[in-house]
Symmetry: C2
Subunit: 645 residues, 2 copies
């Protein structure tokens, strides 16, 4: 009986084994993470992501933008970040605009645009930085600021010297390599550094070979990867890549792709980059130079065939697109290449921020569900972000509203448009009910305009909320003015296209939630009705003065969204937190005035109606704790209306 | 339209309102707890619990025990704590036994018995302490030790002076009041202090009135409540209580109830307490003094009618029982009074410890499910206990096994009994399979003995495990030697009598779990089978040398039991933690040798068989992550056996 049998360990050494030989050793060696790793992406630096994608044989793309000139253009660009971010770029980059005060706090500066991309849009972002004509202190200052804002990647460039008569300065920043060295000296390994490669050689270089040697210097000084200048023929890049490898450059080299989008932009770019457009391209473009659509179509086909050739070579894993801040051409190329991956699956039910401080964040109050940028802004000073439990958060202090009306938190729509949607002239509370109802139904208002946004929600109704549309319409018509809601979910697969989130193989759950403004008359009836439901329904009811009625035990948060995944602890990304609700209350009430009432003249009846609602209505949230049963919140509302009749 | 309507706040001011007038104020004032309060009891001190129960009109009971003389008696007493603890006493108390080295580390000392009650049995405990003939330093030392062990309540007594010729010492501890003052001086408000009251006056007091004054002194010196000496007639207590109130004693006064359990114990007690037994009781007892059962029946009836009269008076909310370390009489009285509340509902799926340090603890690894005392012992040095998430735990270092074979962690059964259960002589691995199978089925082994415990489980099979009995029997017969398991649960009410836990109105969930020892032959086949299940089944497989095979991502714990409750964050009280598993492995393998192999002579075939298993088998745990589907672990095992055939 006591036989030696085959040793299972050796039989299956290919399976994942930590190889530790004893419990205590294993424990001492391990650095235990304080949060379940839901999404490796959030924990890796860009160069690691790149390596992992390459090793997995994955193909990827990235997008380049330049900072806008006006605040309005910035608002549009940020919307574009959100839309193009949905396609799954590995990163985006923002160019450095020396003429535009690029390191300043202006809403249009390179620094602030990159900050928005990282923090508010959750995009891995590279900030360009040029060094010529700048002092060491200026540059260190920019880098420190970038680090503080959560930027982790720098594209180190020389930049174009100001004036014709530029001379190299002794000990100054004369070349990009000086900037690379400076970053590594001052910031060690904190930043991932990208440098530029010139497939045809830099126009100012003595020779193609000399330029390759400069590139090698930059890499050896500490650059992590290379993005190339645009080029017009795939063989240009492939030759360049082989030449780089031949002299010992082993880091990733990413081709820069420029889909031709118009005659003038091409001429402009060619002038700036001192590149020559091949004759065969000129031959096509010249005859159609006044037909924008035709040029764009040609540009898309040209880019497409070049990208295919690059990818088919097996040497290229990622493509970098010079978007010129436009969407159509790049998106089309990406979609036709099959690289555009609009993955409806989310790591968490809300959009995560890419700031390294927020890496572990996995719980937020539900109140800001439609205003995530506001939430990120108001919590940017926190040192720790809740993970695992909201209850663990030791810093529930939200940023003041005074800083809040930053341009990127404002409505995207101009005043005229808002007036068309929300009413040129209000005749009573019922006109307000009407606006809410139109927003829910998607039907035009009585003047024929669709209501596509509300002060509490800058976007049309979420797909998930659509599940509740009929009920929402009914209650808004009668003055229960809903601003946030979610249906109950009793264990749907984490891959569910509407309510799913997190890794596959899991299950997601929700408690039904409803948040609305209502008159004190409705609230009085509601409170009578709620008695009957006891602890099944938790409620928080507060007016603008902060008078607060609740049946929540102590100040405990209520988890209303959670997920169970293979081999992990439980994730509960949204909670109804009583303390945060009182901060949200200030914001929710302020939006009535700041976004809506102020559309009208002072003392005008319309303004007074909104002011009255602001002063007298209550903000209510309801949670149905009994998630496996049918959502009872509609019954609560029906009972309330019945009591009022 | 703009009318003043009734103000909902004033309309419902009786509902729970935090009354805060603004968000920020409310947040600053609140001390946010780091863990959801599942059970108010765990966060209150004894005097608060007493007050809350009294205010709620709840009636309660408490139990007094004395320290045992022998280690065997201590093992029995601890089992009694568990059994009587199930009836729901508000607290137990342990008397101070000056002759028995009461403050020492001996397994039978008052200190260590009280420590066991608090830490291992989770009982709110009062430790008696006497002060006469002791130095200040001795007493302070005892109190410091009590505090360190997690004891929070002291019954301050004078004690009986040693020798006949006792004289009061100047500045010494001459009366209980000196001890009360000393505790308050040295430990401020840390301890809840109880003092003794004498319904007939202390036998040494000058008068009944003088004794009342002494009692008042003790209360005014800082005592929180009073427990009385036993008495034989309810009117004795009720008069005493009125007299106490008349002189200004307002703290709770708890009557001490002594169910007469035998002629000799009554005589002994009466002699010690210098009480007089009323003639009508003597008249009943004397004629039946040799009939123990008759005396006990009479004692139960007498106690019962006295308790009823006390409770009916409306002046008494709690009853304190002098158990004399016996169960039957007290339990019967409590059951007939309706005070014995064997609540199958548990605050968490495992027995919580009452040590204040462990108040927030709400996550444990599943491995110690059947050995909670061992888990508590091995983690007693931790400064923080995991709450919310195991992943947050920064101190995963488990206490060494060297201290582990403390008497109260040993099997309750003597060697002879274990040999009868586990086999006087083993003939091969199959004899071991047979023992495991008999433990599961409850059928007698081939020698006619039932196997009621195993080295890994000192108690018969848990009700929950019974749900899996048929499958467990089948696999143990074939050498998959199960030591821990749980079925999958997809949202049963938290009040479910078998798998429920936590407050009512919630839902509990489990992932199916199976843990067993198996030969390397079985493990080799199992690993092949597991490939097919991919991430659905997480496994950890380890042998005594620590060779470890797993498919768990990183070192992340897997939550296998969790609950969703109204108005709370999610609770996940048991996890499969890869790091802890390697500590548990040491313990689980050691039990083969320490508890089983050592029953046999060295070099004997029986011992060698166990030693072989210890050296060559693997410890395996499996989790089926897909909790809403039918448990696939039995299929995994069946597939494994099929592959082996």
């Amino acid at each position: 009986m006591v036989n030696e049998t085959q040793h299972p360990c050796s039989a299956s050494s290919s399976s994942r084994s930590d190889g530790s030989s004893s419990g205590s050793e294993s424990s001492k060696d391990s650095s235990r993470c304080s949060t379940p790793v839901l999404d490796a992406d959030r924990h890796e630096r860009l160069r690691e992501k790149m390596r992992r994608r390459q090793e997995a044989g994955d193909r990827w793309f990235s997008l380049e933008f330049f900072p806008p000139r006006t605040a309005n253009a910035a608002v549009n660009l940020i919307s574009r970040f959100d839309r193009m971010g949905a396609g799954g770029p590995l990163f985006i980059d923002v160019t450095w605009h020396p003429a535009g005060d690029p390191g300043s706090d202006k809403e249009t500066s390179s620094m602030i645009i990159a900050n928005t991309a990282v923090n508010y849009c959750g995009l891995e972002t590279i900030l360009h930085m040029t060094c010529c004509n700048q002092t060491k202190d200026d540059i260190t200052g920019h880098l420190q600021k970038a680090k503080r804002l959560g930027l982790k990647n720098i594209m180190a460039l020389r930049g174009d010297p100001a004036g014709e008569e530029w001379e190299e300065e002794v000990d100054g920043f004369n070349h990009a390599v000086d900037l690379v060295k400076h970053i590594r000296n001052e910031f060690d390994d904190y930043f991932d550094i990208c440098v530029a490669g010139y497939p045809k050689g830099h126009p100012e270089a003595e020779s193609y070979e000399a330029d390759l040697r400069h590139l090698k210097e930059k890499v050896f000084a500490g650059a992590d990867f290379i993005i190339t200048q645009l080029f017009f023929q795939p063989e240009t890049f492939l030759k360049f890549m082989k030449d780089c490898q031949a002299i010992g450059i082993t880091c990733p080299i990413i081709p820069g792709i420029f889909p031709i989008q118009g005659y003038h932009s091409l001429r402009q770019l060619v002038k700036l980059s001192k590149l020559e457009v091949p004759q065969e391209i000129k031959d096509v473009i010249e005859p159609i130079k006044d037909n924008d659509a035709a040029i764009r179509n040609y540009g898309v086909e040209l880019a497409l065939s070049m990208c295919r050739e690059l990818l088919d070579s097996g040497m290229v894993h990622g493509l970098h697109f010079y978007t010129l801040n436009r969407e159509v051409a790049t998106t089309e190329v990406l979609k036709r290449l099959g690289l555009w991956k609009e993955d409806p699956r989310r790591p968490l039910p809300w959009a995560v921020s890419a700031h390294p401080k927020r890496r572990v964040e996995d719980v937020r109050p539900i109140f800001w569900a439609s205003r995530p940028k506001s939430y990120i802004y108001r919590t940017q000073e926190w040192d720790d972000f809740p993970n695992g439990r909201w209850g663990n958060s030791s810093s529930p202090a939200f940023g003041e509203l005074k800083d809040y009306y930053l341009f990127y938190l404002k409505s995207k729509s101009p005043r005229e448009e808002l007036l068309k949607m929300w009413g040129e002239e209000l005749t009573g509370e019922e006109s307000v009910f009407e606006v809410f109802t139109c927003y829910i139904t998607g039907e035009p208002n009585k003047n024929g305009y669709k209501v596509t946004c509300m002060p509490w929600n800058d976007d049309p109704l979420a797909t998930e909320t659509n599940l509740l549309k009929d009920q929402l319409e009914k209650v808004n018509r009668r003055g229960i003015l809903t601003i946030n809601s979610q249906p109950n979910i009793n264990g749907k697969p984490s891959t569910d296209p509407i309510v799913g989130w997190g890794p596959s193989g899991g299950y997601v759950f929700q408690k039904a939630y409803l948040e609305f403004f209502a008159s004190s008359e409705i609230v009085t009836a509601l409170l009578k009705v709620l008695k009957k439901y006891e602890l099944r329904v938790n409620y928080h009811i507060v007016n603008v003065k902060g008078q607060n009625i609740t049946n929540a035990p102590d100040l405990q948060p209520n988890a209303v969204t959670w997920g169970i995944f293979p081999g992990r602890e439980i994730i509960q990304p949204t909670v109804v937190d009583p303390v945060s609700f009182l901060y949200w209350k200030d914001e929710a009430f302020a939006l009535w005035i700041e976004q809506w009432a102020k559309l009208y003249e002072e003392e005008s009846p319309s303004r007074m109606i909104i002011q009255y609602i602001h002063d007298n209505y209550y903000l209510v949230n309801l949670v149905d704790n009994d998630f496996p049963l049918e959502n009872c919140l509609w019954q609560v509302v029906d009972d309330t209306f019945e009591l009022l009749n």
